[in-house]
Point group: C2
Chain length 172, copies 2
C-alpha cells in the first residue's frame, strides 16, 4: 500500500485535480487506525482466505447503510449471524485499539435478546471501558465510513481515558 502511495505522489501533477475530487467523496481508511483494526478483525476471521484479494474498503462496505436501507431491515426476530459478526467486529476492533494504547487486555461481551436489544461491553479486569446499550441491533450500520470511524474512535478514546484513570481497577 505504501508503494501505491509513492507512485501516486510521482504522478501527482497529472492527476492532482482528479485526486482531490476523489479525496472529498471517499474517505481514506488507510489513515484510520480504527478502520484498520476492523479490517484486521475481518481478515483474522477468514480461515478459508475468501477475502484475501478484497480491498479494505470492500471489506468495510457492509458497515455502511443509509437511513433508508436501515429502515428496510425488519426488527422482528433474531439478529442475523452476519450482522452479529459485524457488531462483534466493531467492538473487538475497539478493544484491540484500547489494548494497543494502554497494554491492558480487553474482553468483549455482547448480550442481545431475541428482539435485538441488549448490551455491548468491553472490560479489562473489573473496569468497563466501553458500555453501550444496543437497540434494533438488526439495523446495525453507519451512514458513512467517516461516521463509522468517528463513532469507533470516540469509544476508543473514552476507553483509554478510563483505563488510565482507574488502572488499579483493571488489575483487580
Amino acid at each position: 500500500m505504501i508503494a501505491v502511495a509513492v507512485s501516486a505522489e510521482e504522478t501527482i501533477d497529472q492527476n492532482a485535480v482528479t485526486k482531490t475530487a476523489t479525496k472529498e467523496t471517499e474517505f481514506d481508511s488507510e489513515n484510520s487506525p480504527f478502520l484498520k483494526a476492523i479490517v484486521h478483525q475481518i481478515r483474522a476471521n477468514d480461515p478459508y482466505g475468501t477475502y484475501r484479494n478484497w480491498s479494505d474498503d470492500l471489506l468495510l462496505k457492509p458497515y455502511i447503510l443509509s437511513k433508508k436501507q436501515r429502515r428496510e431491515i425488519s426488527v422482528e426476530g433474531d439478529v442475523e449471524p452476519l450482522t452479529m459478526g459485524r457488531i462483534l467486529g466493531f467492538y473487538r476492533a475497539i478493544a484491540a485499539r484500547i489494548e494497543q494504547e494502554t497494554n491492558q487486555l480487553a474482553q468483549v461481551v455482547v448480550d442481545l435478546s431475541h428482539e435485538g436489544f441488549g448490551w455491548a461491553l468491553i472490560f479489562s479486569g473489573r473496569l468497563i471501558l466501553v458500555s453501550k446499550t444496543l437497540r434494533d441491533a438488526q439495523r446495525f450500520g453507519f451512514d458513512s465510513l467517516e461516521k463509522l470511524e468517528a463513532e469507533g474512535e470516540a469509544l476508543v478514546q473514552k476507553g483509554i481515558q478510563l483505563a488510565r484513570k482507574f488502572p488499579e481497577v483493571c488489575d483487580v
Copy 2:
C-alpha cells in the same frame, strides 16, 4: 413464618430429637437472604401465578443437581431456555442482594455461545462487581442448597466489597 418458628419453639420439648435430625439433612432457606432473593426472582417472573402455592424449597429444587445428573445432560447445542432462566435467576439474585447492601444499581449481562461457554457479569456504572466465565452452562446446578447459598453469598460479599472499595467507578 415467624409464627411457625414461635410455635416450633413451644413444642420443642416433644420434637427436639426429630427436629434436630431434620435440620441436619434439610437446609433452611428461610434464614438465607440469598436463597430468598432467588425465590423472589422466580416469583417476580411468574405472570400467571403458576408458582403461587409452591413452597420456596420446591421453587429452588431445579437448582440442585447431583454430579451424576449433571453428567447426564448433553453439552451439545444451545442452553435450554429453562436452564438459561435459572442462570439469570442466580445472577439477578446476586445483583439484587448487592443493591440492597450498597444502594448501587446493578445490571446483569449473560453472554453464552451456542456451545454453553461465555461470561456472566454484574456491573454498576463502570465497575464489574461479579465476573464469571461459564462453561458447560447446560449443566448449571449445585450439589445442595447449602452449596448454592455458599457460592451465591460468596459472590455477593465479593461484589459488596468491590462496590465499597471503588465507589467512584460505580458513579462514572
